[in-house]
């Protein structure tokens, strides 16, 4: 493995670097949490970084009409190929350095994708990229729970019952989206032993996210971070509450923050407090009632949603991460 940049952990908000490498002038919504993820991601990584972005809000809103807010080099890649672009860019840099065409230095490679690009169509390419320990790259999936750029079509990450362009609640049928997949990072962590670092994060916990990006880049090899991004457009709420909704998702236990480094799982922030029993989860209705996409919910729907959150904390083998439980009692047959 080639060397990586050693990026020390940031202790407290006052030590966050002042420099911005993703600046003003992006065409995102007011209060866009995914834009904040971009800003924090590159603030953590620093100027010697190459960023690749697959199609989605953070491509279209940032780099159309011959302008950009990026300070560092950035390149677009296709919707499903954030993983392969990451591997390719890392391999390309390595080859150029090996041939002496570039100065030998550790350069961070970060490839981002939305939940459509990552949890849906790009999953196989990300999986492939995580099997290449010889290349250093981070894939960051910013998850705003829909195909938000093209006006909120349902994605694999959209929560149960949410109103999207593809799942409008009607009179005859209220719940039009009844699938549930919210565990992309854990899914990837379990099948890719060569990846040294996989984590979940949320920009409402900015220092935690900054440090997770730094840890991933410092450890090197293929790494993955899944961030949870409140989306004022698709979730239908006043943009000033983006930060608060991110916190509510964690405090209700819906979004679990953790990191797996070299096979060891640690919860972070409020999720850790919940896991060790020092903090009670807030009722999920606190989170649901703040969003127009759940405005059609009945008491029954709220109860079902709550039961799904309870399940990941109370019934799973590893709360919030793995539903698998161990049974050594013997053969079922």
């Amino acid at each position: 493995m080639t060397t990586t940049q050693k990026l020390p952990a940031i202790r407290g908000v006052h030590n966050a670097p002042l420099e911005e490498f993703y600046t003003s002038g992006h065409r995102t919504c007011q209060g866009c949490e995914s834009a904040l993820v971009m800003k924090l991601m590159i603030k953590a990584a620093g100027p010697r970084t190459v960023v690749l972005g697959s199609t989605g809000c953070m491509y279209v809103a940032n780099t159309t009409y011959y302008s950009t807010p990026w300070v560092v080099p950035w390149m677009h890649t296709q919707l499903g190929s954030s993983g392969s672009a990451a591997t390719g860019a890392a391999a390309g840099l390595k080859a150029l350095m090996k041939k002496g065409k570039m100065k030998e230095e550790p350069i961070n490679v970060i490839s981002f994708c939305g939940d459509g690009g990552g949890a849906d169509m790009g999953l196989s390419a990300i999986s492939a990229s995580l099997t290449h320990p010889e290349y250093n790259h981070l894939v960051l999936m910013y998850d705003n729970e829909s195909y938000a750029n093209t006006d909120i079509q349902v994605s694999g990450s959209s929560p149960w019952g949410a109103h999207t362009s593809f799942s409008p609640p009607g009179k005859a049928r209220r719940i039009m989206h009844d699938r549930w997949k919210k565990n992309t990072a854990a899914m990837l962590a379990h099948g890719h032993p060569k990846s040294r670092y996989i984590a979940t994060g949320c920009a409402s916990y900015a220092v935690d996210l900054l440090n997770k990006v730094r840890r991933a880049l410092t450890l090197g090899g293929p790494t993955f971070i899944h961030s949870f991004d409140p989306c004022p457009k698709g979730w239908d709420y006043d943009p000033r509450y983006s930060h608060e909704l991110g916190m509510l998702a964690v405090e209700t236990g819906l979004w679990v923050q953790w990191e797996i480094e070299d096979g060891v799982l640690r919860y972070s922030g409020p999720s850790r407090m919940i896991a060790i029993g020092r903090r009670k989860r807030k009722p999920i209705v606190e989170y649901l009632k703040r969003q127009g996409r759940f405005a059609h919910f009945t008491e029954e729907d709220i109860a079902y949603f709550q039961s799904q959150v309870d399940e990941i904390w109370e019934k799973w083998g590893t709360p919030g991460v793995s539903s698998v439980k161990l049974d050594l009692k013997g053969d079922r047959a």
């Binding site: 002038g25 866009c32 950035w74 409402s204 006043d238 943009p239 000033r240």
Partner: protein, 390 residues
């Protein structure tokens, strides 16, 4: 042979349903009068973003051929009526496609009309509206800007009040009777019909002289032709920022020269630099990197870059340190920190007064909790009964 074109300039997502209802109402009512028409959103505004100005058009013609002729254009080059459903858009419109800042009346015809929903008087609005250089008419539908989100619509009758006012300012397009018929058909709601009629009766039209209006030059830039663009359409990145105002301390990011985003703002943060505890949260949590870091560790909202989302006010732990106030009351984007440095007492006095005055008139920026719109509409109806509004 007459073709009428109407544009609705609105806040992306927040007023999408509203503007669609207006344009749809126009076209359906035109059908009642034996005309033909179509309503469509501007392609360049899609995908829409919360708050970023966008446009919807309604084009009405006497017959099919005439309509097709009008629609062969990408968008109407001039319109009979410009409807502006949020008065802060009167300062100019920077849509997210490649336009720079356009005056709100850029497409309004000579002798045409500009119809604005506002609680301001015409003279105050004309401080914001750019000088047109030709006569046109200004009409105001009195009331706050109606905002709601993508899924839950706040049905406070703004849509039909606009239609009623439109019958007044542009009688040749569609008659009031046709609007009333269509409103009844779409919503089956007598109260909405009454709201439209009341608006029709109350709307007054004020002529605007060619020399009236804001004389400042809207921000623009030179678009490179395709032959001037770089190989493989690569774009030059933004330069790395430097110290505050180019000095040693603090940090001021370099920013995009061609997309500024300030016309997205309907509220602006005002900062109390004295009670600020330098906690960093407004700066760190700002999705638009709009805060310049001063050498003494304070945070100055750069109002060329701020889009007014309000996250800073929400994360600030100090009461009234960052407050969102109505953008309509301001006429410039100058630095609050510079003012504070020049005249601490004067700035703080202004700040205290402004915060006290404006706390009550916070604009609604969409959904906060289930049932909120019902509460707001009921409160507005009660105020209307008491005669505070029309």
């Amino acid at each position: 042979m007459t073709t009428y074109a109407v544009e609705v300039v609105y806040r992306g997502i927040f007023q999408r349903t509203l503007s669609r209802n207006i344009c749809r109402g126009i076209v359906l009512a035109a059908h009642k009068g034996g005309k033909i028409g179509t309503a469509f959103g501007r392609y360049g505004d899609s995908p829409e973003r919360n708050g970023i100005p966008a446009k919807y058009f309604a084009v009405v013609a006497d017959d099919q051929l005439e309509l097709e002729e009008s629609l062969a254009k990408y968008e109407p080059k001039e319109v009979d009526v410009t409807i502006c459903v949020d008065d802060t858009l009167c300062k100019g419109v920077e849509s997210w496609a490649w336009y720079g800042l356009q005056p709100i009346n850029a497409l309004t015809k000579e002798g045409g009309a500009l119809l604005v929903t506002s609680k301001q008087a015409a003279d105050a609005l004309l401080e914001d509206i750019h000088r047109k250089g030709m006569p046109y008419r200004l009409a105001i539908v009195s009331g706050p800007a109606s905002f709601s989100g993508l899924w839950v619509y706040k049905d406070d009758h703004t849509d039909v009040r606009i239609l009623g006012a439109l019958a007044r300012v542009c009688p040749g397009l569609v008659s009031m009777e046709a609007y009333e018929q269509v409103i009844q058909e779409i919503w089956s709601n007598e109260a909405k019909v009454r709201s439209a009629r009341r608006s029709y009766d109350q709307t007054r039209v004020r002529p605007v002289e060619p020399a009236e209006g804001n004389t400042s030059v809207p921000f623009s830039f030179t678009k490179p032709g395709w032959t001037q663009m770089r190989e493989a359409l690569t774009i030059v990145g933004v330069p790395q920022g430097a110290g505050f105002r180019g000095g040693q301390g603090g940090f001021q990011p370099a920013r995009s020269e061609v997309f500024k985003k300030f016309s997205t703002r309907t509220m602006r943060p005002i900062v109390n630099f004295q009670t600020c505890t330098k906690c960093t949260l407004c700066w760190l949590q700002c999705p638009d990197s709009c805060f310049d870091v001063t050498p003494d560790g304070r945070y100055d909202a750069n109002l060329e870059a701020c889009c007014g989302c309000g996250v800073c006010a929400d994360v600030c732990p100090v009461a009234d340190c960052v407050t969102m106030v109505n953008e309509a009351h301001f006429n410039d984007n100058s630095s609050q920190y510079d003012w504070f440095q020049r005249d601490k007492d004067g700035y703080l006095r202004w700040l205290t007064e402004t915060v006290a005055q404006q706390k009550g008139e916070q604009r609604s920026h969409g959904f906060h909790h289930w049932g909120q719109y019902k509460e707001e509409i009921a409160a507005a109806a009660a105020a209307s009964e008491a005669g505070h509004d029309n």
